[in-house]
Amino acid sequence: MNAAVFGPVLDFSRRVVPGFSVLLMILLAQLPMPLPFFPNVAPALPLMAIYYWVVFRPDLMPRILVFALGLFHDALIGAPFGLTALIYLLAHGFVLNQRRFLVGKPFWIFWSGFAIVTPVAAFLTWLLASILRGAILPTDVVLMGMVLTVITFPVIAWALLHSQRWLVGSAQPS
């Protein structure tokens, strides 16, 4: 009886965990950290979560959701609408295409995949932002941010792995 009532609710709450985790990462990335110059080189937390879920549960991270989350991110940071959404969309498409090389492989391969996605995403963001703002933006902070993003990835991946184990489950889509 209980299973019949709570089953669908539980199932639904499981399915929204990946989306909420990306939302949480977007909000966490905006918090004012009391470190000098940190906001300029802060790691790209939402990109880590998108990468993680597209590899392990692509069924729960559809591209329309990634697009919507990108638009939300744009609204918060004051970027032109569509900039981050476009980057997330491209990252989603690329990882979805290549995920067969990443699933079921050792962690260092999973990490290396992210180390390929991050510079491409960072460069494209820099390029688009430079075009939209009509000036060549500084690149040193982009490089620093990129390095920090790749270095801190295992921490976030570990947290997401646990959230997947406890809340989502590892059922692969057919």
Binding site: Q30, P32, P80, G82, A129, V141, G145
Partner: protein
């Protein structure tokens, strides 16, 4: 058997359609992203309103989320101050002695000023009203330098107002929602602040370039500006009130002159929005409050909202 074959063939036919549908959806979303970027560049009102609504709705969440960070910061500070308390005490005692001398001098000057003003029939400028708000998000990133504060139109924040912290300029209010506002930092690429170099009197523009050190533009090539000179707002253009400290000259070479902002912009936790009644950047006519449109009336201090305090500026 025949039925099974039929179903397989239908499914087989559906696969290419599904693949094409997915590709079309992907390209459609890409096109939508580009279209939105171009529309944002054109600064359409609808997109700006959507942004303000999203930020307004998110600000309370960010406000709650940023409190543990602030608590952690103050805990770390108290631990740190515990270890340096002796040195800090000595420094403060020395500073207190120096400030007492300044206080005496200021009191003498105040009396002298009052006497001279009385002789001249001087009409003093109105003191600014200030609203203190918490910084709930540092949405800086590498490409767009801005902050979100938890005060908005309902707390009398308006577009174009100057934002200061610890006595130095932070930036100006760029977008105003109902209970949130975006502050464009003076380091942002879009920031241009009319300023004056205190020691030489040179009029310059402090130009943000997305680096932590904005440059001084329109500075005369033979100007004797040197590192350490203070740069203040000049009040020209009516955007900022005059006399706010922006920073000190960090590097003065032939090619360029950069300044170090007085306020550590990445560590601002509280910001004061100053209302001097100057409106260089005029809001759209429908947003001009009756207070500005009507003939000047005696100003009434705004009601203190629960989250932000109102107090007169020093």
């Amino acid at each position: 058997m025949a039925k099974r074959n039929a179903s397989i063939s239908v499914a087989g036919l559906a696969v290419p359609f599904r693949v094409w549908g997915q590709r079309f959806a992907f390209l459609g979303l890409l096109a939508l992203a580009f279209a939105l970027m171009l529309l944002s560049k054109a600064e359409t009102g609808a997109l700006e309103r959507a942004r303000t609504a999203i930020v307004d709705a998110t600000t309370p969440v960010l406000d709650v989320m940023s409190r543990p960070v602030e608590a952690g910061q103050s805990a770390a500070q108290s631990v740190e101050s515990f270890f340096v308390v002796r040195a800090e005490n000595d420094r403060l005692r020395e500073e207190n002695a120096r400030l007492l001398r300044w206080m005496l001098m200021a009191q003498q000057l105040e009396v002298e000023n009052a006497t001279l003003r009385a002789q001249l029939d001087f009409i003093p400028g109105s003191a600014p009203r200030a609203i203190t708000a918490r910084v709930v998000a540092d949405t800086g990133g590498a490409f767009f330098h801005s902050l979100l504060i938890n005060a908005g139109a309902r707390h009398f924040v308006q577009r174009g107002q100057a934002v200061v912290s610890h006595g130095g300029l932070v930036g100006r209010v760029a977008e105003v929602g109902d209970r949130s506002a975006r502050v464009l930092l003076l380091t942002d690429l879009n920031s241009r602040i009319p300023a004056i170099v205190e020691s030489t009197g040179d009029r310059v523009i402090v130009t943000g370039d997305n680096t932590p050190w904005p440059t001084l533009t329109y500075l005369a090539s033979n100007s004797p500006v040197s590192a350490g000179d203070r740069v203040l707002t000049s009040g020209h253009g009516g955007v900022f009130p005059p006399g706010l400290v922006i920073g000190v000259v960090a590097e003065a070479s032939e090619a360029r002159v950069t300044i170090q902002p007085t306020v550590p912009l990445s560590q601002v936790s509280e910001a004061r929005v100053l209302d001097y009644g100057v409106n260089g950047i005029l809001p759209p006519p429908e947003q001009v409050p009756a207070r500005l449109a009507a003939p000047p009336a005696p100003t009434v201090a705004p009601v203190a909202p629960p989250t932000v305090g109102t107090e007169p500026a020093q």
